[in-house]
Amino acid sequence: MPQRPLSPHLSVYRMFRYTLFTSFANRITGLVLSIGLLVLVYWLMAVASGAAAYTRAIGILSLPIFKLFYRVLLLAFSYHLVAGVRHLIWDTGHGLERNQSKRSAWIVGTVSVLLMIGFLYWAFCPGVHQS
């Protein structure tokens, strides 16, 4: 293969520009959610396999590593959802000016953090939900 620089040029980008960060975060959260799909389907298959199989699967799915993963999933979902809507708005041709995109990056960050706090509170706070 010819030794040309390959896109995306990770070695020449300035890594903490907001444009790169929001885009990169969208990819990472997307990948995390893809792994989440694997866990979801394992869980659904366990439900379909009957009560005994489900109890065994829950033993695995209740491990601390999975409990941590569910929190990461809620974070990833919150971000990917809001950042995805930003992309859809861009696709209509709106919000592409630099100042608009800078502002929408802040909106995405703020809204996704608020969403995540809401989900985490709902999912894991004792008294709100018993899981």
Partner: protein
């Protein structure tokens, strides 16, 4: 000035009309996933418990089963399109094709298994 190559002209080769196919499907699935994922997360968090009997009752409801099937189908599709782009960007050489094949197979299995599981429960197979 034409951007077409002489060889392309002689062969009569033109656009395969698939240039925006991937892009369009990624957008289409994104739009569908906005309501589907919100429904899924809210429903999951609204469940009174995660005991087997609760889940079976939940999944056996017609609307739940239908929305779950749609959610799994569209989510795995969207995931496949997205992971594919990541692989195309970062994996090079011979392992790229192999990775793409694996990614596609895994997504197909995940989609089939998820839909199968929901339908099995919905039709009373896990009671």
């Amino acid at each position: 000035m034409s951007l077409r190559s002489p060889l392309g002209k002689v062969l009569g080769a033109g656009s395969a009309k698939e240039g925006v196919h991937h892009w369009w499907l990624q957008r289409l699935t994104s739009i569908a996933l906005v309501p589907l994922t919100i429904w899924f997360v809210v429903s999951l968090l609204s469940l009174p418990s995660f005991e087997h009997v609760t889940l079976v009752t939940w999944m056996a409801q017609s609307w739940t089963a239908l929305l779950l099937v749609l959610f799994i189908l569209v989510a795995t599709w969207h995931s496949q399109l997205g992971v594919r782009v990541v692989v195309e960007d970062y994996v090079h050489g011979g392992s790229k094709t192999l990775t793409l094949v694996l990614i596609t197979f895994i997504h197909a299995v995940v989609a089939a298994a998820g839909i199968f599981a929901v339908l099995k429960v919905a039709f009373g197979g896990a009671a």
